[in-house]
Amino acid sequence: MSIDPILFEPPARPSHPPEAPLAAEVGAVELTIDGRAVSVPAGSTILEACRAEGIDTPTLCYLESLTPVNVCRVCVVEVAGARVLAPACSRKVEPGMEVMTDSERVRHSRKLVLELLGSSVDVGLAGPQAPDGSIAAYTERYRADPTRFGPSANPAAADERDAREAGHHHAAVGEPTAATVGQPVKIDNELYVRDYSKCILCYKCVEACGVDAQNTFAIAVAGRGFDARISTEWNVGLPDSACVYCGNCIGVCPTGALMFRSEHEMREAGTWDESAQTMTDTICPYCGVGCTLSLHVQDNDIVKVTSPMDSSVTDGHLCIKGRFGFQFVQNRGPG
């Protein structure tokens, strides 16, 4: 029996540590935004260029830590010479590009996107991702009036929207109301709830569950058109699905459609009070990765756990233990 000599003769160690590869040279791209000459690194998006210039651009489906899906269209800008508007979040800058962020067409489309969403989705909790405000602030800025399409139609029964088949909707018959995605909250586990009445279908949760963070693939977009919805396989409850309860979908949800059960129940009871909450950063005690946890505390109880989006360890993502495993802290029973 021969033994591979490599086991006994390890390769010689290099005499000095390998050097870091040289950073690629990034050229600058010159363009104009709203008439201003702007220079940004090549490969930047229009949104990054706008933010560098301090131009406030609304976003809903965009998040720095996720691949842009450019589906909400609230960030659209006008590019001179283009037939249609471009999504600032994903469109890369090009030399000589002339971008207009506040033209008549841009204002119109942003207003209509806000109206269309506002008339079909409960956006009451939406939008604090943007640096300076909620969807309500943008609604005011663009003078959007979601009620133009009529009062909201009655919400659907539980699971009714999940059963809708592509290509076979019940045609509108002239009722005075506007169709919505309204439906009961899905509560099927102790950790978090899914209120798809608040879902603007930004795809962030699907991305976070998939290749952008968790690689669990428990949820995907199912159905088509207005009946498209976030769904587990066959709309099974979360306990039967592939969900591992990392809660990273909650972390990226911009509308409050996905929410800690504790927060949901306090909101239902009317006891949720963000002004009375403190936020304390700590390090997760469970393993050696060292994720930053932000503990949201109200009345000396942890009511929610998040992680800062700019944490280099987590990018805002956690696992089930860091996100939900805090009950022992407040186990105040005898013993």
């Binding site: 659209v76 088949e165 592509a166 002239g174």
Partner: protein, 634 residues
């Protein structure tokens, strides 16, 4: 990938349905990880899956077709088995299955009549057919009393020249699918009542004697002299490669190989050929851009997902002259440096699919496709992919997604397909009719082709004439004939009737009034009157036609066919339908003028801010009807 699959085990029939599709391509399941029999020795300590298993994701939709055809719907155990075999997460596979209208995810009787109630069929009484069916069989989707059959409403089936139409799908051990047009409710019920659904031999071509007569039902000019694109329609046996070669087939490929790729592209550029699918992009420029890409491999895609309501030209070309598409794809692949072509054909075209499948097989057997096409060292082969009921998949990037086994959601452009296309590689996408022009350009030269038509619109063009005309069908004319001349070719409106409106370009097109009759049917001519040629739809509405109902059907169409990805189209198409319904019911919010202003507001946002052409044109026809003075009275 560690899949979490909870469904019960697939039945032998369900496994057979999947394996019949997958095993010839990727072999039987390699281990328990892939859905095979668990072997604790082989599987116990080794995780399988990984990149190789995931690389077959593009077989997901073919596998779903296999289940749908065998089981009659996509069952949970069958889908779970596919997921194991292809390493696709069940939630994603469910998202794909629920995206396509021809896939059912709830139990459905084996025999289904998909009854077209779209705009051309409406003009031919489709609503009467549906209400008759409602009376005799019960509401759409409800199984008949014996549980064997059901009927469903369907968007345009591409049989507009013989409206009203129905597509029958029969699931089981020997599944079949065929369209019948014209058909009435009694005809549908009679097929349901037959002891077994008639095995219409879709491949079997008509005999030489009635071949021309059959072809003339769709192509009234068939057999006429002077036709270029339609020259062989009705004259050759569509299943005979020899017949095709006797009529000039494969001369162009030989010539192309002699000329070399650069010269072929320069001839196509000189021909000033532009795409016939609706976007009218210069074909030569597209080919040159792909050919110049350093990234390999390159792909070629023939877009035969002809779903624009009122369009049926590609169907006729594929049914009656399938080798022409195969040859033209080979030339295009040769010119652009692609060794693999995909022909994506809509699921509602079973006859065209059968014929072109046969043609590809015959061409391969004759050495005209494969590693050494025509003995010249050129390697090219074609794979057919069948759509599953989604208009959006005619959009080129949605089509890529569909071939890749995903939901047909369009990608944002740029990057354009010539750089980043199918499987992320440089890709040429051409419509069937665009490709049909290639052999003539190669043989006669680009300059000769450019001499046909007008300066701005070169070559011959197929028009799909339907609606209230004497002889609906596909007509080939050189660019430049006027709308009136085209209508005259089709015999004009029926005696005693007058024209109320003409829809140019389909549901994504524009309504014009009779005053536009002298408009030349060219890209520049229609642009000058604010209209479009689109895919060549010319649908005539006489004074008896219900235009309001037509507009509502168009709005419902876009509501159904929106992929749901972007807000302007997903919600805007719903609001558009609601506004029209309120106007039609005489119950506007505020005044009718308020509603029309709201309609225009929604339309502009859809046009400006939607991701793809579907949303950008979803308001086009509807807004155009209201722009025409006096066309709509509400």
């Amino acid at each position: 990938m560690d899949l979490h699959v909870v469904a019960p085990l697939a039945s032998p029939a369900e496994r057979d349905a999947v394996d019949a599709v997958l095993s010839p391509l990727i072999g039987p399941p390699a281990s328990g990880w892939h859905g095979g029999v668990r072997d604790s020795k082989a599987d116990g300590h080794i995780a399988r899956g990984g990149h190789e298993a995931r690389s077959h994701r593009d077989l997901l939709i073919p596998a779903l077709h296999g289940i749908q055809a065998r089981v009659g719907f996509i069952s949970q155990p069958a889908l779970a088995y596919v997921c194991r075999r292809l390493s696709v997460p069940p939630a994603e596979a469910y998202g794909v299955a629920t995206f396509y209208a021809l896939f059912a995810t709830t139990p459905r009787p084996p025999l289904v009549a998909h009854v077209c109630d779209d705009i051309a069929c409406r003009l031919a009484g489709a609503e009467d057919v549906c209400s008759d069916l409602g009376r005799s069989l019960g509401p759409a989707g409800q199984p008949t009393r014996d549980g064997r059959a059901t009927w469903l409403r369907s968007p345009c089936l591409g049989q507009c020249e013989r409206a009203p139409a129905a597509l029958f799908t029969s699931a089981g051990e020997s599944p079949t699918s065929f369209a019948v047009a014209p058909i009435d409710a009694a005809g549908i019920v009679a097929r349901f009542d037959a002891p077994r659904i008639e095995a219409v031999g879709p491949v079997a071509a008509p005999t030489p004697d009635d071949r021309l007569a059959v072809a003339r039902r769709s192509v009234p000019q068939a057999g006429d002299d002077g036709l270029r694109i339609l020259a062989r329609i009705g004259r050759i046996d569509p299943l005979s490669l020899d017949d095709y070669r006797r009529h000039g087939g494969y001369e162009a490929l030989a010539r192309a190989i002699a000329l070399g790729p650069e010269r072929v592209i320069s001839e196509v550029t000189d021909a000033k050929l532009v795409g016939r699918g609706g976007a009218a992009f210069p074909t030569g420029r597209k080919w040159a851009a792909v050919a110049a890409q350093i990234t390999r491999p390159h792909y070629l895609v023939c877009n035969a997902d002809e779903s624009e309501p009122g369009t049926f030209k590609d169907r006729a070309l594929l049914e009656d002259d399938p080798f022409a598409t195969v040859e033209a794809m080979t030339i295009a692949g040769f010119a652009t440096g692609a060794e693999r072509g995909y022909l994506y054909i809509r699921g509602e075209y079973p006859l065209a699919e059968a014929r072109v499948t046969a043609a590809i097989g015959a061409a391969r057997a004759a050495g005209l496709l494969g590693p050494d096409a025509l003995g010249s060292g050129v390697s090219f082969d074609i794979e057919i992919r069948r759509g599953a009921g989604a208009y959006i998949c005619g959009e080129e990037t949605a089509l890529f997604e569909s071939i890749e086994g995903k939901r047909g959601e369009p990608r944002n452009k740029p990057p354009f397909p010539v750089e980043v296309g199918l499987f992320g590689k440089p890709t040429t996408v051409n419509n069937v009719e665009t490709l049909a022009n290639i052999p003539a350009i190669v043989l006669e030269g680009g300059a000769a082709f450019a001499a046909i038509g007008t300066d701005g619109s070169t070559g011959p063009k197929l028009f799909c004439l339907s609606g209230n005309v004497e002889r609906p069908g596909i007509y080939e004319v050189p660019f430049g004939v006027t709308l009136r001349e085209l209508l005259d070719l089709g015999g004009g409106v029926r005696t005693g009737r007058t024209i109320q409106a003409i829809l140019l370009g389909g549901a994504a097109g524009v309504f014009v009034g009779p005053e536009a009759l002298d408009t030349p049917l060219t890209f520049e001519g229609t642009r000058a009157i604010g209209a479009t040629l689109g895919s060549g739809v010319v649908m005539v509405f006489d004074d008896t036609a219900d235009l309001v109902g037509t507009l509502r059907r168009i709005a419902a169409f876009f509501r159904d066919e929106s992929c749901g990805q972007c807000v302007p189209c997903r919600v805007g198409s719903v609001r558009q339908e609601e506004i029209l319904a309120r106007l039609a019911a005489g119950r506007p919010r505020g005044s009718a003028a308020d509603e029309l202003a709201l309609l225009r507001d929604v339309g502009q946002a859809m046009r400006d801010a939607s991701i793809c052409g579907l949303g950008q044109t979803a308001s086009s026809a509807i807004e155009s009807a209201f722009r025409q003075p006096g066309m709509m009275s509400l």
